[in-house]
Each structure stands twice: as C-alpha cells, then as structure tokens.
C-alpha cells in the first residue's frame, strides 16, 4: 500500500487547534477584515494598535533567515496583514506584543517545511489558514493572556508559584523517570523566591518563541496544541527542569541569575524534552485546589 505523505505541520496545527474549522465557518471573512483595516473610521479607532503592529513587524523574529533573506519583504507583508486582521477581528483584545512573534512562528513553521508560497493563489490560501490558526490559538488556547490586564497570565504565575512550593502535590506521576529533577528544580526556584512573573511573560506571551530555538519551540507547540493549555504549564516546568544543571550553579538566593537562565535555557533535544514533560504531568485536581485558594485570596484582598 502506498504510504500517505505526512501532513505538513501547519495543516496539523490548523486542524488540531480548531483553526481549520473556524476557517470553513468564516469563508471570505479574512479578506473582509483586511478591507476594514484600511477603512478610515476603523483606523481612527484602532490607530494605536495598528501603528504598533507596523512598528513591530520588522522586529518579529528578526534573526530568522525568513525575515532577513530574499523573502523578507513578502514575509513582513504577510505578517502585517495577519496582525491587522486580528486587531480588527478582536478589537476587544487588541494587539499585545508577543502576538507578533506567535504569528511569525506560524509563518516560520510553514516556510521551514514547504518554503515561501510562490504563487499568489497559494499564498492567499496559506495566509487564510494561518490566520484562522492564529485566531484559534489566541481564542481557544490563550484566551485571557493578551488582554489589557493580562489576568490569566498573572493567575498562571501564581499557580506556578504554588507548584514550585509543593511540587509533590501537583505532579501526577511520582514514578516518572525525571521526577526527582523536576522536584529539585521546583525546590530551587521556590527557595530563591523567584517570582514567576519575572519569567512567565516571556514564556507564555511569545509561546516560547523568544525562549527556545524555533525548531524546538515548534515541538513544544505540537504538545500544547494537542493537549491544551495545561500543557503550557507542564512545558514550562519541563524547560525549567532541563536547566537544572545551570540553575544549580547559581547562588541559591540569586533569583535574577536564575530568571536569566530560564529566559534563554541551554538548548536541549526533543527527546530530553519529551522525557521531562512526562514527569511534569500535573494532577488537574491539584490545580483546581490551587485555583480555589487563589480565588479565595483574591476575594480576601478585595475585602481588605
């Protein structure tokens, strides 16, 4: 029997994230959004966000050959259109720095597998698919992270702090091969009193594209897109645990040195990541408990 060619990653992401579904439900909407983005009334209302998009497009993954080489001008226009359409579609959320890198990553992953689409028709189709994948990611997976107040990110930071404080309660599989490393890592970060908010923005709001080599980041995305947002926390624990040797060389109280390491971890292999993330599987009920505690805390702080 003939072997079926593996589906390109961008198609898989589109399907698993819900982007492909959104696309079929919204035929023609993307081009309509682009027309709207040029409308004077719209630009007068969304001007700040659209101007920030224009400033940021050349600053998105600027070291990647895709954005430096011959395709760079076309790639930047591609990215500009996706971001402008996003701003018009979700004017309630708007544009938050980080979204540009996520959109750029979608384009990068496509380009790295099939090259930059050469015909206008192919380009338009891929752009439509990637746009709705972006919408699906930001809506189904990352809703709440990119808002004005970024509450969801702050809540996740508090959850991570709780996990670092008592990993034993949060981790699902104490028998996992790398369990001990994960527990040790959590202990170190907790002992240094590292505030997760010093690392979580860079990790979550760029979906690791500012943190890992893109090939590795794409592998982490595979897991997040497939398993959902819990995998975001699990991946961050895994990445931290793979930096244990470097973290161990810091002075135990030097939270800033540790944060710097976590911003740019020493690269590791996919296999190492896969082994680590298994050990980082979280007990959903433990998270629920931690969340309840958070809600209680917030209620109390409102009462004060």
């Amino acid at each position: 029997m003939a072997r079926v060619a593996p589906q390109p990653r961008y198609m898989r992401w589109a399907e698993v994230s819900g982007g492909a579904k959104l696309r079929t439900l919204n035929r023609g909407v993307y081009s309509a959004l682009l027309v709207l983005a040029d409308n004077a009334i719209i630009t007068s209302r969304l001007g700040t966000a659209l101007a920030q998009v224009d400033l940021d497009v050349p600053r998105s993954l600027p070291d990647e050959p895709l954005f430096r080489g011959l395709d760079a001008p076309a790639a930047r226009e591609f990215l500009t259109r996706m971001l402008r359409a996003w701003v018009v579609l979700r004017f309630d959320v708007g544009y938050t720095q980080g979204i540009n890198s996520i959109a750029a990553m979608l384009l990068w992953a496509t380009w790295s597998e099939i090259g930059f689409p050469s015909s206008t028709k192919a380009r338009a189709k891929i752009e439509d698919i990637l746009f709705w994948t972006l919408v699906a990611l930001l809506t189904f997976h990352l809703e709440g992270y990119f808002t004005q107040t970024m509450d969801r990110m702050k809540d996740d930071a508090a959850l991570l702090a709780a996990i670092w404080a008592s990993p034993g309660r949060a981790l699902a599989d104490p028998g996992a091969l790398r369990h001990a490393d994960v527990v040790l890592t959590c202990g170190k970060l907790h002992a240094a009193e590292l505030d997760p908010l010093l690392v979580v923005p860079k990790w979550f709001l760029t979906l690791f594209t500012h943190v890992l080599p893109l090939e590795l980041a794409a592998h982490v995305w595979d897991g997040i897109i497939e398993h959902g947002v819990l995998r975001l926390l699990e991946s961050s624990l895994a990445i931290a645990s793979l930096s244990l040797p470097e973290l161990s060389q810091c002075e135990p109280s030097d939270a800033i040195a540790m944060a710097s390491i976590l911003h740019r971890p020493t690269p590791f292999t996919r296999e190492a990541f896969d082994a680590a993330v298994v050990a980082c599987a979280l007990r959903p009920d433990a998270l629920f408990e931690a969340e309840q505690a958070l809600i209680g805390e917030r209620a109390r702080s409102h009462l004060d």
């Binding site: 920030q52 600027p62 720095q97 980080g98 890198s101 004005q148 107040t149 009193e193 500012h210 109280s253």
Partner: protein, 197 residues
Amino acid sequence: MAAGKVFQFKLVLLGEAAVGKSSLVLRFVKGQFQEFQESTIGAAFLTQSVCLDDVTVKFEIWDTAGQERYNSLAPMYYRGAQAAIVVYDITNADTLARAKAWVKELQRQASPNIVIALAGNKCDLASKRAVDDEEAAQYAEDNGLLFLETSAKGAINVNEIFIAIAKKLPKNTVETRPAKPVVQIDEPSSSKKKGCC
C-alpha cells in the same frame, strides 16, 4: 589602578515601546547595535560594570517592556531600584509625554533616593527631530534628573549616561546588593560581601 570596592545597584529602564531601551542596553553591555531589535516581553536582565577612579559600580540592569499594557508589571520591576533610565525617542514627541509620566510615577512610588536619568534616544536622526533638546533639558533640570541625548546606533553618550549615574549613586554603604526583587518585606536585608568584578 588598584581595584577598590565593588558596589552593586539595580537599574531599571522605562519608556514607551520601541524608543530604544534594549538597544541602549545592548550597546552598553556588548557594544553592539541591531537594526531590528526584538521587542522585550516582560523584562530582560543583564549586568555590566563601570569602573570609576577607586570603585567599581556593578549594574544589575532590568530592561522592561514598553507597550502600555505591560505597565501593570512595572511596579514589580522598579521596586527596590536605586537608579532608572527613562527613555524617549527624540523623533516622537508622544514618547516624551510618556517619559514624563514614568518620571512622576517613579518619584511617587519608587525608592525615595532613586537616581533618575532621562535619555533622549535616536539623536542620530537629527533631521527627524520632534523634541527640542533645550526643552527636555529644562524639564530634566526642574525635576532633578540627569539628562543626555543618546544614540544606541551611533554609540553616542551611551556609556556616558551610565557613568553619570554611577557617579551620582551614593557609595556610603559597604558593598551593597540591591534589595531582593521578590516581595519580601520583613526579613532584614543582609549586606553580603561581594568579590571583585
């Protein structure tokens, strides 16, 4: 020159997005410039030292994100900072207004003795100037700020602004370390001995 005492200070950079905060840090720390600099998400941490006559001043630099919606994270970044560089872009008058708002916030909320410098960056783009340097200088003087126009691209006044801050910082305590960045109020801060840089 005999290496004297080492003093460590926390320095935070604040200012509107894309005014050149990270570029100033990159120039100061690595002597480099990038035409397209990735926007900073959250904050980035770097260190660099300045040698004055008989002392070494080591900066722990907190380079922050400029986009407005990241502002709610800012208090965490400037907490305990002994120095700040507030940056605007001389080709964009709105960025000076934002810088003035940062200065106000620092004067109200940050450590009382914080040394603040105002940097009018991108001064290599003189033909696109939108902010009068004398007006900015007057504002800085009225508010007790150090002031320099800088260019990360042209390496103009970048080291100078850090040196000016280093000179102005009080060096009366024994080798100091910045207050812990994490919320932790009750514990007495230990003034640890630090080796030479």
